[in-house]
Symmetry: C2
Subunit: 190 residues, 2 copies
């Protein structure tokens, strides 16, 4: 549940407790090892209350991902692909690299919930591609391929950057992304 401000105080308290404790747990251990029980114990709520708001832990995770990436969506929503791809790449890394540990864990964890990456990818890119006349002319199959293409490249670079100890600068990440997205391997290696 995403709070709007009009909720019952009990709801606000419960949802904030659920999300806060969930973020803590995500930072402390692998998502796959988090149980509903321990989340409820920590948030001081009954299991029934949790299930009242979320069918499964995966749904809570998806909502958190949705909320976190919303700011990024806003940044790129007016850019046009493929012409403004460099702006999209820049926005991605300036946004992602400024995020905290929760974003990092959610985006990079290689466990069974990396599918979240795909959800994010689809949400983000479909909005920007669809404004391109050249894109509209492509067949649906090629469209669907391109839809995930750019963001995978960026998520991949971001995750490897984290795994490497964040030793490159944001500008270096953007430069690598620009090469791989615009020019392919030949931009990086001969």
């Amino acid at each position: 549940m995403i709070l709007t401000g009009n909720e019952d105080l009990r709801v606000v308290k419960t949802i904030e407790a659920i999300k806060g404790c969930f973020e803590d747990l995500i930072c402390e251990k692998d998502y796959e090892k988090i149980t509903v029980k321990e989340l409820c114990d920590r948030a001081r709520i009954n299991k029934k209350t949790f299930y009242h708001y979320y069918p499964t832990l995966d749904d809570l995770l998806a909502e958190l991902q949705f909320e976190i990436s919303s700011a990024y969506i806003d940044m790129i929503k007016d850019y046009k692909l493929p012409d403004e791809i460099r702006k999209v790449n820049r926005a991605f890394f300036e946004f992602s690299c400024a995020q905290g540990k929760v974003f990092e864990k959610i985006t990079c964890s290689s466990g069974s919930y990396s599918y979240i990456r795909q959800k994010m990818i689809n949400r983000v890119t479909s909005e920007t591609w669809k404004k391109s006349p050249a894109f509209i002319k492509l067949d649906r199959f090629t469209q669907s391929v391109l839809l995930e293409h750019v963001n995978f490249i960026n998520v991949n670079i971001y995750c490897k950057w984290v795994a490497d100890g964040k030793r490159s600068t944001v500008e270096e990440l953007i430069a690598l992304s620009d090469k791989l997205t615009c020019d392919g391997l030949h931009g990086v290696i001969k």
Copy 2:
């Protein structure tokens, strides 16, 4: 457990039953919804026996993935990247498109086990890249990015091809892959 031919007949019977029923189940329903219990019921074995061979269902899935992709690994193991990338792309699609439903489900399912893609990706590409002098000269970070880059593009194309009802020819898939890997977006869209 991967059978070598020297095993006790009981072991052969058990392992074949486990893998056979697991493949059937994968074709019938989402992997996430398969339980150890129903696999054991179908394979006519006790839970204890299953856990004797596999710590979790994920491990069984990983082993199946490993076995299925072995033939592909053999095909590309002598190619050198980035020079022979077109050969790798061709091998990928000629192999993947000839596979059956189990491969399709394992590779394309968008659920929580799409991480299998990553495992496959890493296994496949590291062997081919490491023979490239130009690759060795790159920093570790860029290396790790490239390691997943090519195969993601191919897996992505393959999965979209399946989702689209396999309407393109294998040659069209290879052509699209060649453009995206070698030349980036500019090879596909202006």
